[in-house]
């Protein structure tokens, strides 16, 4: 895939990091503010997609990132179900909120919910990015 013009590249270089960090912020504050794992994951995936759209990519790189995203996707899902099963193993109930709840509106509060958000964020970010790769990856364009 070919990249875009110099202006777009320069602006993207400046803001892409902020987009990424904003996605992580939304994910981590999921239990305090609107948003959460899904919204944060979408924003993170947006940053990754922006990078490919603006700077372009080689088929070999895309193959690599496809493998990486599929591993991240599995890890996200496994983290989520691992948290659920941890409740079963530690406290005897599936999906039990077994961690201390903390003080409301603190970043470290609400027990397992922030960790669920992180797992969802990883899963959704990787999932959306892999959908993008499947739909828009170079290999199909070259074949046609």
């Amino acid at each position: 895939m070919k990249g875009m013009s110099l202006i777009v590249r320069t602006i993207t270089t400046v803001i892409i990091g902020f987009i990424f960090i904003y996605g992580i912020y939304i994910t981590l504050h999921g239990h305090l503010t609107p948003g959460g794992g899904f919204a944060g994951g979408v924003i993170v995936a947006g940053a990754l997609i922006l990078r490919i759209l603006v700077f372009g990519s080689e088929p070999a790189d895309e193959k690599k990132s496809e493998i990486r995203t599929s591993i991240f996707e599995s890890v996200g899902a496994l983290l989520f179900i691992g948290i659920a099963l941890a409740g079963l193993v530690i406290a005897g109930t599936f999906f039990l909120n077994f961690l201390p709840k903390g003080i409301p509106f603190n970043l470290l509060s609400a027990g397992i919910i922030p960790f669920c958000n992180i797992a969802i964020g990883i899963k959704v970010g990787a999932g959306l990015f892999s959908i993008f790769l499947a739909l828009a990856a170079v290999k199909y364009v070259v074949k046609d």
């Binding site: 493998i67 599929s70 591993i71 996707e73 599995s74 890890v75 899902a77 496994l78 179900i81 691992g82 659920a84 099963l85 409740g87 079963l88 193993v89 005897g92 109930t93 599936f94 999906f95 039990l96 909120n97």
Partner: protein, 500 residues
Amino acid sequence: MTFIPLFFALPLAAAFIIPILGKIAKSIIWIFVTLVSFTLFILALYGVAVTQQFPMIVYEMGNWPPPLGIVMAFDSLSAFMVLVISILVFSGSIFSWRYMSHYTGTWKFYTLYMLITAGMMGVSITGDLFNMFVFLEIAAISSYALVAFGVDAEELEASFKYMVMGEVGGLTFLLSIALLYAKTSTLNLADMANTLQVVGQTPFFWLVLGMMLLAFSIKAAFVPFHSWLPDAHPAAPAPISSLLSGIFIKVLGMYTTARLVFNVFGLSRGNAPVFFNVLIGLGLLSIAFAGITALNQKDYKRLLGYSSVSQVGYIMLGFGIGNFYGVAGAIFYILAHALGKGLLFLTSGSVVNATGTRDITKLAGVGENMSTTAWSFRFGSMSLIGLPPLVGFFAKYFIVLGALKAGFWWLAIVAIGLSVLTLGYLLKIENNVFMKKGRTKANKAPFTMRVAMVFLVVLIVLFGVGFQQIIDFLVGPAANALLRGVEYANLVFGSVGVSF
């Protein structure tokens, strides 16, 4: 620590471990999947044993009590469904090792295989309407991908058609859930059953029920809505065809209908005879129309697909009769058809694997070398037709008995008469493929495939010979769980916190 969430947590976790495993060592994926499905089988047997003592086990997810939180309501019917699912998943996973060896990306296949298992298990044991929808869609979306797994033009077309029709059904179900939620302010099945008693049989009640019946008729492929099935089920790889025809349509279509109609809407033949007559009509239409269409098919798997539509009609017939023998017969038929049709689709996979074609006019002579496949086919079809010592006979016998006890003597005669159609189309395969002398060369089926087929044959014979035990411990309690009606709600609320 309890075993109920493991029924869906285990396959879900396995589904996401497989992609990572696929990067490390491809060869152990199959062993892993088979071990997981065997564990599920053992857990399901344990579940059946436990439900002998406790009629209802309510499991609160995350310790939230029933009307607020999601519960898993595990009763005899759930235990029965889980057992049948795990039998077919286990035999399918054994079968798939050699069958899938000429496909690429098998780890994707096994991931989807575990996801579809998790979805079906979840539908069978959940006690929450929206949770049921989510699991139903997990299973349905995995099945769309599995039907398209070969990515040939034919498979993609079948999958697309299936997806469009399936989603019309799924979204109708979602809409009816939204309407019910607006009316009753609850999604818990037990709580909803209580609230619907207050609502009464108003036009709203019948509208929602009609929408749900439409949705589940599409999922279960009853005749006006069946056209996706004869395309989709043959297009899938054989272990998946076996799973889809054997149990998938029954979990998504029959189990959900029965559970909602009897336990949540609280209908029985006593208080809604017209509705139950509609169910009988749907059943008869499916049996007759699809059975006659099946007689004309030349494609091995497509014929079996039409046969599935036809056989599902018997199950609906049993539920429509609505007394104990009818419902028990319908539940027994779920078991009988799952084993029989699962086995027949596995034999089709074995034949396709050896010859590469599904056209029964080109398969003459296959029976000479593939004797295990041929005899498996014979046992499966004898069970479906309903010959005495096999499981299919007793299932059909109970449905007929139910019809007689309910006073529908004409229905009993029609139901027996229509099984001639089953005999007709299954003999067509027997005649053209396994009996006929011909020049088609085929090697013996691989060892693991034969193991999977013989496993199902043994179960067909065993469940047939021991039908009294099956009725006493498996089917009878399951039928009682349905005929309990809205007592279900009291039982769910009464069993909270029962430890076992």
